[in-house]
Amino acid sequence: SGVWNFGSLLGLCLITQILTGVFLGMDYTSDISTGFSSVTHIWRDVNYGWLIRNLHGNGASFFFICIYMDIGRGLYYGSYLYKETWNIGVVLLLLVMMTAFVGYVVPWGQMSFWGGTVITNLLSGVPYMGDTLVQWIWGGFSVDNGTLTRFFGFHFLLAFVIGGGTVVHLLFLHETGSNNPGGVNSDGDKISFHPYFSYKDLLGFVIMLLGLTSLGLFSPNLLGDPENFTPGNPLVTPPHIQPEWYFLFGYGILRSIPNKVGGVLGLLFSILVLMVVAILHTSKQRGLTFRPVTQFLFWTLVGDMIILTWIGGMPVEHPYIIIGQIGSVLYFGLFLVLVPLGGWVEN
């Protein structure tokens, strides 16, 4: 069905981000004295620079829309039972998150600087070597020029690491072939890629590019933070430091645990929990198509993630604190307890 389009869409997103990113890299300078103004220069002076930057920033949001939909499809239809493909997919998610994080620091706006400061400081929770580790990552005693130059380098490099990971992801997928909404063996029903999937994927590309250009041309700052229009200033802390929307659910989980190391582990495991879903699969059926109890739990997970995304963007005050804590417990409870239980009940 249509939800199988997100794999090819992710490939399109990666190509879009690399192309726009390479062109941005031709005029961007990764020094704290010129970084912010080089982005302004690209926007105002470089031919179609405004469009390239627009597509790159909003393209990142579409990358995450596609990746979350791809994961959602995988969870709903039990595609995670292709364990190698799935686990490489989780690694790709982590790589995309790392790329987006360092990429957001690059424009050196207020949220770039302070978001970078908050998240890199989390590494100080590592026992014994935490502080040394943070300073090693920073290349100094705070987020400063050393941090910016290497983060730009990491951002450029990681994009191609993702490309390599994508090849391995597809290598394993092509060993088994794709899953399907019925969750059944489809060896007897195979059809050629062209014209069926070439045109299907092309339609998906058109729809996604329509969405990306609509967002970029009608409402380019809808998903952004106004703080990033101000150059990064280590002497002025923004009142509400928050990451981009695609990280807010993890930010919500991080802040729900009133312990630094605990919060970091919560954030980490909110992604790594995906690696245990295959082990916790209890149902005799592969997907949720004929499993009403677990379907309900799936949509509860979707609702919970939206709640956690909302909470991640709210200040740490009542009642947002308790909602975030309940939402975090529900998130892990669904993956580790409720969904396996649902499968067992349905058997």
Partner: protein
């Protein structure tokens, strides 16, 4: 590497029938059967999708309401003032 046509599956005792595209309508009963089918598909999934979404919305509105209330003065705190 991977699977190849001709080496996928052996299926016996399955008979398929087909009719030429020139002998049939392209979108038969698109509205007369399609609309009732959309309603059938909606009914079969609404009680699994809607409750979590409704709960989510109620949590959102309740949370924002309580937060706003918390920013207001509580008259009970000032009852004993002269």
């Amino acid at each position: 590497m991977g699977r190849h046509f001709g080496d996928l599956a052996k299926i016996r005792h399955v008979i398929t029938y087909s009719i030429s595209p020139f002998e049939q309508r392209a979108f038969p009963n698109y509205f007369s059967k399609g609309i009732p089918n959309v309603w059938r598909r909606f009914k079969s999934s609404v009680f699994k999708v809607a409750p979590p979404m409704i709960l989510m919305y109620l949590t959102y509105t309740w949370g924002n309401h309580v937060h706003e209330q918390g920013k207001r003065k509580n008259p009970a705190d000032y009852e004993k003032d002269q």
